[in-house]
């Protein structure tokens, strides 16, 4: 039974949620969190998409290094049996690898001693209608792990495209709880990897292309109970804005802007979903993520700054309340959805002061570094010198100084706008080497033409309002639609790029850095590559069965270092290939840009695992053999 909802009811619900959160904060033990932190320190585990709470995707392992990486060979592989795009990376915990898939979001647990044996598999039955409201292929970005506490078993937590968040027993795969976090009838889906902090499972939302109002929610892992929920737009009480919000940077804006920077009730369908990655600092108890684009893409239909879409958040993990919010692209005109990875580091700023930082390569072509304790803007540099919608970001005001020549608006076709709506960086989970103080960034090199059109809002239907044509950026080959990507090594303090290399297609999935002086990444045309992380020199590559849109990870098992990567082309850059589309403006403009991708790879998902000389459990030929009835 649906009930009408009023502002006062929402405010009341929000107060109750906050009260419940406070109660939880007082009573919750920190042991689960400490256990997770300890697990993440072991080379034998990879317990979250970015390895640990810093999301650095950095491993201190050196067994595989610049001297011997050429000896990497396939150790073993696993086909997921699904064809659509495979983003993210597997988890490894206590000798098991947990593998996620595209829709219908199957999950597999593999025994690292005998990876040919599937320990358990979870295959949810979902409403197939979910496929029709997915924005950009049928991807999923991964899993979360909660370590258990003796009373409640260890859990694998997953999202389903149909809007459900599900907790599974990590040892058996049995469903422990299953909650509704979205409703496909109003366009809400889930593609994100959930995130565990203490005894909370955090999850965002997808569907801004259908006018979904973005939200972030925390559930008690032990009970499935909602602890808090905050939105990207709307009244302060629902956005999680209190008296001390942006105290250090009041010029970012403070109260009343989640409704005041929208016309009428447009904030109710204003987007700001978050389907990207989280990072967390246990010392500040703040977690960080970005809210996405405002809806619709047609900017003329939504006057105002459209807060708090496109915002880097620092929120209290126990309550969801925001300590700071910095809006990178006020009144977005290009779909520069701000959900990308947040990588935490501790570095000295230009004045020599050691600071807790977060670095975020944004869709809008700017890589931002903030003081993650208070939101101070430390640096904001272009990901490539061809970014043209913005002249610079004023570090004092935090405002982008836009070039009106590349604005978009009704009755006008904007041309040669860089980056395209795909951004110069998208969902790829990148890496940071703390010993070199370098970020390794997978880049899109794509520009666009953009023409808005009017359309009505209907719940559950696409609500975009723009036609896009995409093509390689100025450094690419526009005749042949190649040269659509780059990989770069970036210093966030100096603002300099130590090295950069062009790629045939976008480096969509992200990077892995290791103490072996290596950076690994996958390519859309189906290679995993290793470069010298000091120089960018290409040292090794291997052709995979399909293109890559996920990021590599590494783990140690029984003394051997392995590198693993998911393959399975798709995602936004692959929509033309996976759905066999020809119109260059289809797939929100991606089909034209990637029309050549089909000549390099085809569909098919799985995991491939590498080691030096291909060392693997089956070197002992008796492993995995059936020895007859006992």
């Amino acid at each position: 039974m649906k009930q009408r909802i009023t502002t006062s009811m929402l405010a009341s619900a929000s107060c109750m949620a906050v009260a419940a959160a406070l109660q939880f904060a007082i009573t919750a033990p920190a042991s689960a969190n400490q256990k997770l932190v300890e697990l993440s320190k072991s080379n034998e585990n990879w317990i979250m998409p970015g390895r640990d709470y810093s999301s650095q995707n950095y491993s201190p392992m050196t067994q595989i290094n610049v001297e011997n990486v050429k000896k990497l060979r396939t150790a073993w592989s696993f086909s997921t049996g699904l064809l659509h795009g495979h983003e993210g990376t597997p988890l490894v915990v206590d000798g098991l690898m947990y593998v996620h898939t595209s829709f219908p979001n199957n999950t597999f647990a593999l025994d690292l001693n005998d990876p040919g044996h599937i320990i358990w598999q979870h295959k949810p039955k979902q409403d197939p209608a979910a496929r029709s409201v997915a924005c950009c292929d049928l991807v999923n970005r991964g899993l979360a792990y909660w370590p258990g506490d003796g009373k409640t078993p260890a859990l694998i937590i997953k999202t389903q495209l149909d809007g459900h968040l599900v907790a599974l027993n990590a040892k058996t795969g049995e469903e422990f709880w299953k909650v509704e976090n979205g409703d496909i009838k109003v366009g809400q889906t889930l593609t994100q990897a959930p995130y565990v902090i203490k005894d909370l499972a955090l999850v965002g939302s997808s569907g801004a292309e259908l006018g979904v109002r973005g939200h972030t929610t925390a559930y008690n892992v032990k009970t499935g109970e909602q602890v808090w929920r905050v939105y990207a737009t709307g009244p302060d009480s629902e956005v999680g804005i209190g008296d001390d919000f942006n105290k250090a940077n009041p010029h970012y804006g403070q109260k009343g802007l989640g409704t005041g920077t929208w016309e009428g009730d447009a904030w109710k369908i204003g987007g700001g979903t978050n389907w990207g990655w989280y990072a967390y600092d246990p010392e500040t108890n703040l977690f960080h993520y970005g809210s996405g684009n405002p809806a619709p893409w047609n900017e003329t239909m939504r006057p105002g700054d459209n807060k708090w879409t496109m915002t880097i958040w620092g929120r209290d993990a126990d309550t969801g309340q925001a300590k700071f919010g910095y809006q990178k692209t006020p009144h977005d005109e290009w779909d520069y959805a701000g959900v990308n990875v947040m990588i935490l580091s501790e570095q000295k700023d230009k004045a020599g002061k050691m600071r807790k930082l977060l670095t975020h390569p944004d869709r809008n072509g700017i890589v931002y570094t903030l003081d993650r304790e208070n939101g101070d803007l430390v640096s904001a540099n272009k990901l490539d010198d061809t970014v043209n919608w913005v002249k610079q970001v004023d570090l004092k005001s935090g405002l982008p100084v836009r070039d009106p020549e590349y604005s978009t608006y009704m009755d006008h076709k904007g041309k040669e706008i860089c980056p395209s709506a795909m951004g110069y960086h998208n969902q790829g989970h990148d890496s940071y080497d703390p010993t070199k103080e370098l970020f390794y960034l997978g880049i899109n090199h794509i520009c666009m033409d953009w023409e808005p059109f009017m359309l009505p809002y209907r719940a559950g239907q696409f609500f975009v309002g723009a036609t896009l044509w995409m093509y390689p950026g100025p450094k690419g080959d526009r005749q042949n639609y190649l040269g659509l990507g780059q990989i770069k090594a970036y210093n966030a303090i100096s603002g300099e790029y130590k090295w950069e290399k062009m790629e045939r297609f976008s480096v969509w999935g992200g990077t892995l850095a290791t103490a072996g002086n290596l950076v690994f990444y996958g390519t859309l045309d189906g290679f995993i590559k290793a470069r010298n992380s000091d120089t960018g020199e290409l040292l090794w590559k291997h052709k995979l069965p399909s293109g890559v849109i996920g990021h590599p990870m590494t783990f140690e098992h029984k003394g051997t270092q392995y590198v693993a990567i998911m393959y399975g082309v798709g995602g936004w850059p692959g929509v033309g290939l996976v759905f066999d589309l020809q119109d260059p403006t289809a797939g929100l403009g991606a089909v034209g840009a990637f029309k050549n991708l089909q000549n390099y790879t085809q569909m098919g998902g799985g995991v491939q695992v590498f080691s030096l000389d291909g060392k693997n459990p089956y070197d002992d030929v008796n492993v995995g053999e059936w020895t007859g009835k006992s």
Partner: protein
């Protein structure tokens, strides 16, 4: 549905393309902290009643909120039942 370009809007478009940068929206002229949006030359401050009025249907705008509220209520019943019984029942019609 693409809106036809009228003579008036053609003139506005000319203003946009030929106006000095100081007159165009560059996002730096703030009325208040965090409030820096300006209408582009020739375009309205408010779209209601203009040719760009999306004419949102309040019933459609309400649907997401209604859906979220009902899902939260169902989830609450599931979690409460789970805490009492240790058994997760998804179908709320089967929860006593």
């Amino acid at each position: 549905m693409k809106t036809m370009l009228t003579g008036l809007m053609a003139a506005a478009a000319l203003v946009v393309t030929s106006a000095p940068a100081a007159l165009a929206y560059d996002g730096t002229k703030c009325k208040a902290p965090g409030v820096c949006w300006e209408a582009k030359p020739g375009y309205p401050e408010k779209v209601a009643g203009s040719k760009y009025d999306p004419k949102h249907d309040p019933k459609e705008l309400q649907k997401q909120g209604d859906s979220m509220k009902s899902a939260e209520e169902r989830n609450k019943k599931r979690a409460e039942h789970f805490k009492k019984t240790g058994k997760w029942v998804y179908d709320v019609s089967k929860i006593q």
